[in-house]
C-alpha cells in the first residue's frame, strides 16, 4: 500500500505546488497560503489512505477496536493528587495499591489495600473486598517504570468494574496523596476530641 500512495502523494504535491512555484517566480506567494495548502494536502492524503487502503482505519475498524482493547488500561483517566484526594473524600473511592507484597508491607499510602495483578479472578475479588462494580477505584503503582497499575486496571475492567482511575505516576504524587489523607484524618480526630 504505502509505495503506491506515496507515489500518488508526491504527484499530487507536485501538481498542487506547480502553480505556486510559477506564482512565486512571478512575484511571490503568501506562506499562509502555503501552510493552508500543506493542511489540505494532509487531509486529502489521510482521507485517501484510510478510506482506500485495506489497512486504513475506515476499512479495518477491527484494528482500531483491538488497539483500544489492548490499551484500555492505559486509556483510563490518570488523576493528579488533588483530583485523587477529592475522589477518595467525596465519592467514597477505594484506594488500591498494585505494587508487590514486599513494597506494600514496607510502605503504602494510608488506607490503601493491596490487590495483586495477574492472579486468578476469585483471589483478586477477595483482595478487593468490594462487590460494588460501580464504586470508584483509584489504582496506584510505583513511580517511573511501573506499569502494573494498567495491568490490574485491565483485569478489573474484565471483571466488570466500570469506575476505574489511575494515579499520576510519580513518587511525588503518591507521597503527596499520603500526606493529604493523613492530614484529613488528623483534622477529623482534632474535631472529634473534646
Amino acid at each position: 500500500m504505502p509505495p503506491e500512495f506515496l507515489t500518488a502523494l508526491v504527484i499530487a504535491t507536485l501538481v498542487a505546488g506547480d502553480p505556486v512555484i510559477k506564482r512565486t517566480s512571478a512575484g511571490g506567494s503568501s506562506w499562509r497560503f502555503q501552510i493552508a495548502g500543506v493542511l489540505v494536502l494532509t487531509a486529502l492524503a489521510a482521507g485517501s489512505i484510510h478510506l482506500a487502503s485495506p489497512e486504513g482505519f475506515a476499512r479495518n475498524q477491527s484494528a482500531f477496536a483491538r488497539m483500544q482493547r489492548v490499551h484500555r488500561g492505559a486509556l483510563l483517566p490518570r488523576l493528579t493528587t488533588s483530583q485523587a484526594f477529592e475522589l477518595l473524600r467525596d465519592r467514597d473511592g477505594l484506594l488500591v495499591d498494585a505494587r508487590t507484597h514486599d513494597s506494600y508491607e514496607s510502605w503504602h499510602v494510608k488506607d490503601a489495600i493491596r490487590v495483586a495483578a495477574g492472579v486468578p479472578q476469585f483471589i483478586r475479588l477477595d483482595m478487593l473486598k468490594t462487590t460494588d462494580r460501580s464504586r470508584p477505584i483509584l489504582i496506584y503503582c510505583d513511580s517511573g517504570s511501573c506499569s502494573v497499575d494498567q495491568l490490574l486496571a485491565t483485569e478489573l475492567l474484565d471483571d466488570g468494574f466500570t469506575n476505574l482511575y489511575l494515579l499520576h505516576r510519580t513518587t511525588a504524587s503518591i507521597n503527596a496523596l499520603d500526606v493529604l489523607l493523613r492530614q484529613r484524618d488528623a483534622a477529623t480526630r482534632a474535631r472529634e476530641e473534646p
Binding site: M1, T13, G37, V38, F64, M67, H71
Partner: protein, 148 residues
C-alpha cells in the same frame, strides 16, 4: 560548498527522514495507533485522530521538502512537528512511561529513552537551521524582486 547547496542537502535529508518515518507508520497504522496510546498523553479519540493525520502530514512535508516545493512553509511545518515530537517525548519520559517511541522505522523499534529524546532534539535543531536558512533565502529573493 555554497550555502545554497548546504540548504538543498539539508532539505532533502530532512525530507527523506520524514518520508521514511511516514512509510513506517503507513505500513501498519494499528501499530502506530498503539504507539500513540502508549505515550499516555491523549485519549482514544485524539489518539485516533493523531494516528490518522500525523503520518499523512509527515508524508506531505517529506514530499514537499524533497521536491523543493513551498520550501519555507514546508520547513516551518517540519519544525513544528519536530517541536511536537520533542515535547511529547519529554512529557512521556518525565511521566515515567515505558513505551515504543514510534520513531523513524529506519532505526528499528526502540523504547522511549534519553537517546530517542536526544535524536528528536537533534532533528529539531536541524529543522530550525533549515527554517532560518530558507527564511534568509526568501528575504533575499523578495529584496531582489523589489529591486527589480
Amino acid at each position: 560548498m555554497t550555502v545554497s547547496r548546504i540548504v538543498i542537502m539539508l532539505r532533502i535529508a530532512i525530507g527523506l527522514i520524514f518520508l521514511v518515518a511516514a512509510i513506517g507508520k503507513l505500513n501498519d497504522p494499528a501499530k502506530f495507533l498503539s504507539a500513540v496510546y502508549g505515550y499516555e498523553l491523549v485519549g482514544p479519540t485524539t489518539g485516533l485522530l493523531t494516528a490518522i493525520t500525523l503520518p499523512a502530514l509527515e508524508a506531505v512535508i517529506g514530499a514537499l521538502l524533497v521536491t523543493g516545493t513551498w520550501r519555507f512553509s514546508a520547513s516551518l511545518a517540519a519544525t513544528t512537528l519536530a517541536v511536537l515530537f520533542v515535547v511529547a517525548q519529554a512529557m512521556a519520559i518525565s511521566n515515567g512511561v515505558r513505551a515504543d517511541c514510534g520513531c523513524v522505522a529506519l532505526f528499528g523499534p526502540s523504547a522511549l529513552s534519553q537517546a530517542t529524546l536526544g535524536r528528536a532534539v537533534l532533528l529539531l535543531s536541524v529543522c530550525v537551521s533549515l527554517v532560518l536558512l530558507e527564511w534568509r533565502a526568501e528575504l533575499n529573493a523578495s529584496s531582489g524582486r523589489s529591486a527589480a
